[in-house]
């Protein structure tokens, strides 16, 4: 690389590069193979290292940071067990297309392949769950590989990239210059959609009688809530979001029909089933959304906008594929509609809305309030009110996740943070830490269950160390509720291993970690507890809500059924 630059060790190059790349936080955990890098971190102040309590927490925290800020998350772990512990977090980010760069230490190059102490083939182990990965064999390649890693992680369809760095590479020296630009001959993500296809799509849209817009995580990842909202209002069409797409369109708007899919609303699923033109944007026709693909939108012409060609026509054949960035393609659609003064079919649309309002009138999310026992839905409804819909909400996985998605209305993107694709229990708390670092002055709530929270509970210690005032809403039903629900519906109530025995006293547990704990057992205490917790601006508050044990999530589409075959309450 010529003679320019300063001579640095590999470890110094890593840290200097992170600084030059604009990285503020690295979530990590030290160990032998990364000690040089920790030493280099110690000697500077620009890149702040956050010490987690388990490497899974590091990757989830970096992931939460990325989801809430749109910037790449960075994690640093040691070789062997450090790397394998990080895998769950890497896979979680991979399934939801989240930009992460994970640096893993590796044994010295001359020991690779020798079953050396704490050696694991990290590149091999992570290969199926990364967008790409690298093993750095020469310190002279280090800066360029790091640049490639950030470039690949954050462009096109984002995803995690692992850079495996042997210890001797971090000790060796090379000239360092920050590589500003990078070109890869084998990787050139498309951005602009094909104009002919966009015109065909617009034509279909304005001619539609029963149109529907279905959008997903791609809108959030692209920062495209604005053009999506503008287009949807311009057309006056109904819109639904996937679990990953919530907040892409204002959740309180009347054109919004709620989430679709397995636990989506009646109106969203019925509108999907009966529509004649479907505009799918940055969504990947997941099986939780389509139900039985044979019956999915069988009457509709489908337009699909996605940056990843392999998402298009993977599960459902589409009529108008458009490969490109959401913001570019929707921007183009808006321009065409305005320029040509195109108008949707007013009367047909009015009739369609009348039909939708009928479906909406079933009030599929209603539940029986009780004075005796706390209904989980009630807690979330009140959480929404007390936080005025302004909180960042992370969640774990299970019934509580679905209720949070249904009852907390997100008007803004990047505020609903959950593991959709992998469905990783344990995600919620560490993800909330990342979110809080990204938005230090905002309210960050972690909605969880007594099962999930115990999967990464150790991070309560990290929260104390860094003074993270996260509000934990534990919907404690003493059951692995989602599992229990399936056992009730599909296994004749044989509740195998879904009852959570021997639970800790969460109040005392929180207190022993130096936080505030609350146990809430009566419906009347729900709001006061939430209000009090929100007032404790500087403290982490663990609210243990003792909820109805046997409440189920409705509506529900059983596996293999069509979107019009929902189980209602």
């Amino acid at each position: 690389m010529g003679s320019k630059g300063v001579e640095l060790t590999g470890a110094e190059i890593v840290v200097r590069f992170l600084r030059d790349e604009g990285v503020k936080y690295v979530f990590g955990y030290p160990g032998g193979a990364v000690l040089h890098i920790y030493d280099a971190l110690y000697k500077q102040e620009e890149v702040q290292h956050i010490l987690v309590r388990h490497e899974q927490g590091a990757t989830h925290a970096a992931d939460g940071y990325a989801r809430a800020t749109g910037k790449p998350g960075v994690a640093l772990v040691t070789s062997g067990p450090g790397a394998t512990n990080a895998v769950t977090g890497i896979a979680t980010a991979y399934m939801d297309s989240i930009p992460l760069v994970v640096l893993t230490g590796q044994v010295p190059t001359h020991l690779i392949g020798n079953d050396a102490f704490q050696e694991v083939d990290s590149v091999g182990v992570t290969r199926p769950c990364v967008k790409h990965n690298f093993l750095v064999k020469d310190v002279r390649d280090l800066a360029l590989i790091l640049k490639k890693a950030f470039y690949i992680a954050t462009t096109g369809r984002p995803g995690p990239v692992v850079v495996d760095i042997p210890k001797d590479v971090t000790a060796a020296k090379a000239k360092y210059v920050y590589p500003k630009e990078i070109q890869l001959r084998s990787y050139k993500p498309v951005t602009k959609g094909h104009i002919g296809q966009i015109k065909r799509a617009v034509k279909l849209l304005v001619q539609a009688e029963r149109p529907m817009i279905y959008t997903g995580g791609g809108v959030i990842l692209d920062g495209a809530a604005k053009p999506l909202t503008e287009l949807t209002r311009l057309l006056g069409f109904p819109i639904t979001n996937t679990l990953m797409g919530l907040g892409g369109y204002p959740g309180t708007d009347k054109q919004f029909l709620g989430m679709l899919g397995m636990h989506g609303t009646y109106e969203a699923n019925m509108a999907m089933h009966h529509c004649d033109v479907l505009l799918a944007v940055g969504a990947r026709f997941d099986d939780r959304v389509t139900g039985n693909v044979e019956k999915f939108c069988s009457k509709a012409k489908i337009i699909h906008v996605d940056i990843d060609p392999s998402s298009i026509s993977k599960n459902v054949r589409v009529d108008v594929p458009i490969v490109g960035r959401v913001s570019d393609v929707l921007g183009e659609m808006i321009r065409i509609i305005k320029e040509k003064k195109l108008k949707p079919r007013r009367e047909a649309l009015a009739a369609w809305w009348r039909q939708i309002e009928e479906w909406r009138a079933t009030e599929c999310l209603k539940y029986q309030y009780s004075d005796e026992v706390i209904k989980p839905q009630y807690v979330l409804e009140q959480l929404y009110k007390v936080t005025r819909g302004n909180a960042f909400v992370t969640s774990d996985v299970g019934q509580h996740q679905m209720w949070a998605a249904q009852f907390y209305k997100f008007d803004k993107p990047n505020r609903w943070i959950n593991s959709g694709g992998l469905g990783t229990m344990g995600f919620g708390l560490p993800a909330a830490m990342g979110v809080q670092f990204g938005h230090p002055r905002s309210t960050v709530v972690c909605v969880t269950g007594e099962g999930s929270i115990q999967m990464c509970i150790q991070e309560l210690s990290t929260c104390l160390q860094y003074g993270l005032p996260i509000k934990i809403v534990n919907l404690n039903n003493r059951y692995l509720g989602m599992v229990r629900q399936w056992q009730e519906f599909f296994y004749q109530g044989r509740y195998a291993m879904s009852y959570m025995e021997a639970l800790p006293d969460f109040v005392r547990l929180a207190e022993s970690y130096g936080h505030v704990g609350m146990r809430i057992e009566k419906p009347a205490d729900v709001v006061p507890a939430l209000e009090e917790a929100m007032k404790l601006k500087k403290r982490l508050v663990f609210m243990d809500f003792i909820t109805d044990q046997t409440e189920n999530v409705y509506p529900m589409i059983p596996a293999g059924a069509g979107l019009n075959e929902m189980i209602l309450v």
């Binding site: 290969r127 001959r185 084998s186 060609p309 392999s310 026509s313 993977k314």
Partner: protein
């Protein structure tokens, strides 16, 4: 349908396992896979023979294109192309069989490249079908060992797969 997909790959350690891993992780079929460096040492050329419905083939090409190490891809079976595979076969060759095997090799335009008192080793190049036909034609009892290179291929005419 059977397809021959040609790839130009970055000549990086691990590129082969990314392709192989993709096929096993997504449950795609591989009939054969060959790979070797090209005249440009930074690139390898890979030829994959696979089969599946049109939808599956579409996914295979999209997923391959998505791999960061894949520089370029061509489905040879979409146009006129030439397909070749090499067979090395060791056969027991004694008495009258020697004469018969020599004639057969001639008919198939193969060549005998190693000889002992007891055996011949025959080299034959052609399409997979031709190699199958040759193996069929040889008395099964005589076959001691077969090695096939796997299919390689190239487009006919002026069409090229290059960067």
């Amino acid at each position: 349908m059977r397809r021959i997909i040609s790839l130009l790959l970055e000549n990086e350690a691990g590129a082969l396992s990314r392709v192989a891993g993709l096929f096993s992780a997504r449950g795609y079929n591989i009939e054969s896979l060959t790979v070797a460096p090209t005249e440009d040492p930074s690139l390898s050329r890979m030829t994959i023979v696979t089969h599946g419905s049109d939808e599956i083939i579409e996914q295979i090409t999209k997923q391959l294109n998505k791999l960061i190490d894949v520089v370029k891809l061509q489905d040879l079976t979409e146009g006129a192309h030439i397909e070749r595979e090499m067979l090395l076969i060791k056969v027991r060759a004694v008495d009258a069989d020697r004469e018969e095997l020599m004639r057969l090799t001639d008919i198939f335009r193969g060549s005998i490249i190693d000889v002992t008192g007891q055996t011949f080793t025959i080299e034959l190049t052609g399409t997979g079908e031709k190699l199958d036909a040759f193996i069929q034609a040889v008395d099964n009892e005589l076959i001691l060992e077969t090695v096939r290179s796997g299919v390689t291929g190239i487009a006919r005419g002026e069409k090229c797969l290059r960067v």
